[in-house]
Amino acid sequence: MEKFKTVLTLAQKQQTSLSFGFVALFTAGGEQIFSSAVFRCPCSSWNFVYGCVFLLIPSLVLLLLGYLLSSKTWRLLTGCCMNTSKIFKSNNICGTIKVFVQVTVNASVAPLTWVAVALLHGSYYECAMTGCNNTAYIEKVCDGKSKCFQDFHRLPCAGKSSLLASDRDDVLLEIRAQSQVLGWMLIATITVIALAFTCVTRCRSPVSFLQLKFWMAYMNHENELFESLATEHAKNLAQRNVRSFFESTEPPAMKTPDNKAWEKISALYKFSTKDHYYSKLHKYVETCGENHNKSTRSGECDFENPTVLNFVDGSNFL
């Protein structure tokens, strides 16, 4: 039991990496299932379209699902039609683009894994390229083998082409090698870009490393507590309303935050070195709360320009 608890604590600490790893594994597994169970190269003029569809459409779908499931997308977009200045005002547009880039980076883990695993496996690329009509490519791959040019479409299907078995194997091996090299190059490029991106973000951080760690821990706990307290408050409010309906009595007074308060705490937060606030909620309770109606620093309760911090909200995957 102790060991299990240790593992669980470790898992909670590395939640982000674990969730990305899990998504990557899941995608790789899905790709293997599709390759073995569903994919059958038609070995005709449809090869190119078929191979490209299997390679690219699932990754597009995974990207869109990534956007759909990311909570940051909805944090940014909720209510924006009613209040277009939230996104489109000149000093907000930069922040909006930053958040969009962050969301895209998080959502691209699954699609890039799919493409990389598919290329490393090789069958989709093989099918697609044997449907390619580019004469130079076919000649290069065929390398003078007899009947290769005419039967190029039929190479992926065993026993359908009229080439010698060894010739067919050679050509297919070459195409598969190209696919795997492309796959590895993709993985290398993604890793380099990810490292560069993280370096630049950390470099541009206005706070130090330890404060950043504290900040991330604070955000996690604030989010957790928010969930549990919101559930508790919702339960109490529901209980009070339902009871009052059934007993046909007046409902007792119950304090609940008003719409403006919710607006103020919902924006994504930007750190300012003048303040010591770690989130919009923190700023709200210290400056605009009930007890602080007469704020000493004027304009502080004005949350009109909620610009965006690019990394502190963390990579809350879901």
């Binding site: 569903v38 299997f54 209510g79 009613m82 339960k235 309906f245 919710w262």
Partner: protein
């Protein structure tokens, strides 16, 4: 025990995703069973197309209707509407009714789309359907560069009983399957794009901010739970009181209970008003009572119920 609690909490949070994945698995399983157990392509020109089409579209239609049946919002909208048709469009604003109906339809469309995807990715139904098409363009597409017997034998290809050579047979089958799978992927892609755009639009038009929306969803869930509990409890108490009074042959004691018009009031779909602080029709009723019904003219229709699976 703590560990299990955490894991359980995590899964509870992801219940929508898990629910949809489970539905997808169920669809795949169902499709496999159908293909293996009951699907047998007739392999003749007159019947292939109808047979294949029925197997593709029929279950999708059934799943759509079942989706309508199982959505509680359908019944919230339609209960009592024959006797009082104005209930359907309470403020004469037909836009609202269409919007609610559209919402219900979108929720009910998910299982049929899953079925269509799985059926097309498998390829058997499409193969059967398209090989029975009589359209010259389609047949030419498949039989390009082949002998004339191809046209005649095309409907028999899915059964493997045609008199074409095995190589030709295999090639035609593979081409049909490839088309089917490409169509399946396109349907998935289009459904996802439409889903994303729809959700973006819905969230964009939200009148409240993100955290308040989260709180609101929790409130609606809790209200439903508590309503069920209290309804059971009060029904028990009322039944108790009535039966006691009957068997003991006494006058029944006073029992406070909401009257018929109160039930009517809380049953309508909720309209949100920025100027007010209510999270449901029930809350508006208990806090406001019957006064000030005119304010509701400016309010927008409810959208918070989210994607109710059942």
């Amino acid at each position: 025990m703590d560990g299990f609690q955490t894991v359980f909490k995590f899964f509870l949070n992801q219940k929508t995703t898990i629910g949809y994945s489970f539905m997808a698995l169920l669809t795949v399983g169902g499709e496999r069973i159908f293909s293996m157990v009951s699907f047998q392509c007739p392999c003749n020109k007159s019947q292939n197309f109808i047979y294949g089409l029925v197997f593709i579209v029929g279950p999708a239609l059934v799943l759509l209707i079942v989706g309508y049946f199982l959505s509680s919002r359908t019944w919230k909208l339609f209960t009592g509407c024959c006797l009082n048709p104005r209930k359907l469009c309470p403020k004469g604003n037909s836009c609202n009714c269409v919007y609610v109906f559209a919402q219900i339809t979108v929720g009910a469309c998910i299982p049929p789309v899953m079925w269509l995807t799985v059926a097309l990715l498998n390829g058997t139904f499409y193969e059967c359907a398209v090989s029975g098409l009589e359209n010259n363009h389609v047949v030419d597409l498949f039989c390009k560069g082949k002998t004339d017997t191809c046209r005649v034998e095309l409907p028999r290809v899915p059964c493997g009983k045609s008199s074409l050579s095995p190589a030709d047979n295999q090639e035609l089958l593979l081409m049909l399957r490839a088309q089917s799978q490409i169509l399946g992927w396109l349907i998935v892609c289009i459904a996802t794009v439409v889903g994303l755009i729809g959700t973006c639009y819905k969230n964009c038009r939200s009148q409240v901010s993100y955290l308040q929306l989260k709180f609101w969803r929790k409130y609606i869930e809790k209200e439903k739970e508590h309503f069920d509990t209290y309804a059971t409890e009060y029904a028990t108490k009322l039944a108790d009181r009535n039966l006691k009074s009957f068997f003991e042959n006494k006058d029944p004691e006073a029992f406070p209970f909401p009257n018929h018009s109160a039930w009517e009031d809380i049953s309508s779909l909720y309209t949100f008003c920025r100027s007010e602080q209510y999270y449901s029709t029930l809350q508006r009723y208990v806090e406001k009572g019957n006064k000030d019904k005119d304010d509701e003219m400016k309010c927008a229709l409810d959208f918070v119920d989210g994607i109710e699976m059942m």
